[in-house]
């Protein structure tokens, strides 16, 4: 029974270590923090399993509990070294679930006096004290993160926050539906998977429901050094690619950016694009202005 919470916290540590490299690529500080947190949890689990003690009991609750508190707070507040709160992803939920199970079970076992090596004390000391310590660890590490951030800019996320882009419409984006910008409707955006430093192409459909012609005049994306609309054209046997200054969308018309025709070229990718993820693309129209859409990375 005693081994269940230890195993749960050990597992949380393994998850932290496993996702550390991915986090390193979006913000190095996060990668380092995940690696340290994971190592601490694994080390604690092994130590407590080998030789449980009252002191280690407090340390375990403070660390695992503190990480749960830190996680919960950064779902709402902007994370240190990042531009926005963290996502509610499956990996995070499982990891925090493990820590929560571990912490709660340890406390219950201690209260029942069933944790060998841990002295039986009053509920206030066995539960209240570690809870206070966890709060200190959680809030303290958050404060430390905010405090260190200005001094360690190289460890911060280099991605431009999408929410700061003009035309950002979170509701429209998260629904995955057609994005509407005045009389224009943009849908079906997808991008090709590609390696970091490589090139990708984005395809989408623009429908003009209005009575005024418009034109796509500029594109950009935070995942690429530069972006341009290109047209693929066959010149005899030769496939030529050329930049297009504007893509006309006639009144009541429809333009498809698709393989073998127009596409948005992403050049100098700042990171790899993996199948399934969504990347932001900002479109600038001559009359309707700017809008951000999300393209799903898809292998055709």
């Amino acid at each position: 029974m005693r081994n269940v919470p230890i195993l749960a916290i050990f597992l949380a540590g393994v998850i932290h270590l496993a996702v550390a490299p991915v986090h390193y690529t979006h913000a190095p500080a996060h990668g380092i923090f995940f690696a340290l947190a994971g190592a601490a949890e694994i080390f604690w689990a092994l130590a407590f399993w080998r030789r449980p003690s009252t002191r280690l009991y407090y340390v375990g609750l403070a660390v695992a509990g503190g990480l749960v508190i830190l996680w919960a707070v950064t779902r709402v507040l902007i994370q240190p070294f990042e531009h926005e709160p963290g996502p509610l992803d499956a990996g995070g939920l499982v990891c925090k679930g493990c820590e929560l199970v571990g912490v709660v079970m340890l406390a219950i076992l201690a209260l029942q006096g069933r944790l060998s090596g841990v002295e039986k004390r009053s509920p206030l000391r066995l539960v209240g004290q570690p809870l206070a310590m966890a709060l200190v660890v959680g809030v303290g590490s958050l404060g430390m993160g905010y405090g260190l951030e200005p001094y360690l800019p190289t460890l911060a996320s280099q991605e431009e926050p999408m929410s700061e882009m003009p035309g950002y419409d979170h509701a429209a984006l998260s629904s995955g539906a057609t994005v509407t910008l005045g009389q224009l409707q943009i849908s079906g955006a997808w991008a090709r998977p590609a390696q970091m430093g490589g090139t990708s192409a984005v395809y989408l459909t623009i429908v003009n429901t209005g009575e005024q012609a418009d034109a796509l005049v500029d594109v950009q994306s935070p995942v690429a050094e530069s972006a341009e609309v290109h047209e693929m054209r066959m010149d005899g046997d030769v496939m030529r690619m050329q930049p297009v200054a504007r893509v006309e969308v006639a009144a009541g018309g429809r333009v498809e950016l698709k393989p073998g025709g127009y596409h948005i070229m992403l050049m100098g990718l700042t990171r790899a694009l993996a199948v399934g993820e969504r990347i932001p693309i900002v479109l600038q129209f001559e009359h309707s202005g700017q809008v951000a859409v999300e393209a799903t990375v898809t292998s055709p």
């Binding site: 530069s226 290109h230 066959m234 030769v238 690619m241 073998g260 070229m265 050049m267």
Partner: protein
């Protein structure tokens, strides 16, 4: 009786009517010089290593945003449609951009499509000789901090004896079915 004979003649000539390829047929087949390059695992390979199989040769580059990935995605569908016959067909991607397409880059790129696809790279001099013998036009076009390569968009089919038999020009009208039919016909013939 005469009518029956006539019908028979028509039926027979109908059967022996030559198959109409969707690509451009080379008649007689062309024998191009063999070449030696580096595959995506860094090993030295010769085209003749694949003698006995049908080879689909395609020239492109991994930074190519549109036509190359589209073609490789189509190769993947061709492979699926061929089913068991695909074991006798090799899909080879020869780079037009040796500067950026190292074996490792090629390997990662091809793996996103099909791990059985073969990638060829090498020194610019070695590759230039290959491009030349296949009549590949290649023009590097610098744009900002990067560059693209405008290039001949053809697929070359080399038969089991090592002769160039057919080429397809890549355009929107060329369907996966067209490719599969031509391949199956070449394998039977």
């Amino acid at each position: 009786m005469r009518l029956v004979l006539l019908a028979l003649v028509i039926a027979l000539t109908g059967c022996s009517q030559p198959y109409a390829f969707h690509g451009t047929r080379l008649e007689p087949p062309l024998t191009l010089p063999d070449f030696e390059l580096i595959n995506q695992d860094g090993q030295t390979v010769r085209l003749s290593d694949y003698r006995g199989q049908l080879i689909l040769l395609f020239f492109g580059y991994t930074h190519c945003p549109d036509v190359c990935p589209t073609t490789l995605a189509q190769f993947k569908r061709v492979r699926a449609q061929l089913g068991k016959q695909a074991e006798r067909v090799r899909f080879i991607f020869v780079t037009l951009d040796p500067e950026r397409d190292t074996p490792a880059v090629l390997k990662e790129f091809l793996a996103t499509f099909d791990p059985t696809f073969i990638g060829f790279t090498g020194t610019t001099a070695d590759l230039e000789a290959v491009w030349k013998s296949y009549g590949i036009y290649r023009e590097k076009r610098v744009e900002g901090s990067t560059y693209f390569v405008d290039h001949t968009a053809r697929i070359y089919v080399i038969d089991a004896r090592g002769n160039l038999r057919l080429t397809w020009l890549l355009d929107a009208n060329l369907s996966t079915d067209d490719l599969v039919q031509d391949i199956q016909h070449l394998m039977e013939g």
